[in-house]
Symmetry: C2
């Protein structure tokens, strides 16, 4: 495609680096931005810049947070005896939107994947164990729900965490396999996802 201006070309190439946006959509967005008043692109770029530079992560659960500790960890109505372990931040949002879960979360930041060179040390697994130890005195954790993707990497990670937690004598469950095998948590519909939390089963190593 030939562009009438280097500025258009640059904007199209930058926007088309976003996932699911091709050159044609990027061009449509670029020309839309051009047609809007300058305040439109100003507030758009300001929001994106601020997002990337000012965002913080909760020191406890590693979810996104505006303060040191996120609003879920600080929530007084939350059941502090249950921790739901998820792969990434979108998973927290997805589970929150089901309104079926009222405990705390723990964001691993990924799953164990030898192919991509991600070992247990790269994930927030130690942080999870420390957190459980710290809570022992005040709010002992009674159950850890593993809500990881139903992939080989997810299963490996579940297995690894379960073995660590069994040593501590904590009940470990995993969300029900209502999720199609090979499916990603982020794209599962709310009803299926909510139901799979309610019908979670004990995670047995045997």
């Amino acid at each position: 495609m030939n562009f009438p201006s280097k500025l258009i070309e640059d904007a199209v190439s930058e926007i088309s680096r976003l996932p699911g946006i091709g050159k044609k959509t990027a061009l449509r967005l670029t020309l839309h931005i051009l047609k809007q008043p300058e305040s439109f692109s100003q507030s758009l770029t300001a929001a994106i810049s601020k997002l990337r530079t000012e965002i913080g992560y909760c020191k406890k659960c590693h979810n996104i947070a505006d303060q040191e500790i996120c609003s879920i960890c600080l929530g007084t109505r939350r059941d502090r005896s249950t921790i739901c372990v998820v792969e990434d931040i979108p998973d927290v949002l997805a589970i929150e939107n089901t309104s079926q879960y009222n405990g705390l979360y723990h964001v691993l930041g990924g799953v164990i994947s030898p192919i991509q060179g991600i070992g247990p040390e790269e994930l927030k697994i130690d942080s999870l164990l420390n957190r459980i130890d710290e809570q022992l005195g005040s709010d002992p954790v009674q159950e850890v729900i593993l809500a990881l993707s139903a992939t080989m990497e997810g299963d490996t990670t579940s297995f690894f965490i379960t073995r660590k937690l069994k040593e501590k004598g904590i009940k470990v469950s995993t969300i029900a396999r209502g999720i199609p095998i090979g499916g990603e948590l982020e794209y599962t519909d709310e009803v299926t996802l909510g139901r799979s939390i309610l019908t979670r089963v004990n995670y047995n190593l045997e």
Copy 2:
């Protein structure tokens, strides 16, 4: 949807103002931007800001241009005796990508639409007439091709421009309306089909 951070919420609401991008896609893009290195969002926002503040328009044809006059108007291999009148900038790109046209363009910036309060004065119609007068000495314009949408507004605009140009004795044509290439007769709407019969052209075997 509840967001864990005001920054996420702001970014999602800004991104979802773009055409064809809903809240869910905006959230996906937002979380993608968060995961990338800071240089990613920096170059994205820089390209968008620069696009909106530094872009220029060609003084002759009102297409996008990096200099005062766009590369098409300056092109030495262009047929300067033909001007194709289009509604907006994407139309220029679309026609250029067909590689079937080698003349100049004129971007109106819209079509006459009494309902939206757009009269002929709001469009670059006077500029088109002036341009034709200016070119009279050096490269007289022989044909004006109207490539406007096949809507009531487009037809009204074509009619208005044709009347103005007839006074100058310039040949005016409009792009063919008919069944799209590859289109099935059975699924073509009645108006298009009726019109394509009325405006039938001689079928030449040679």
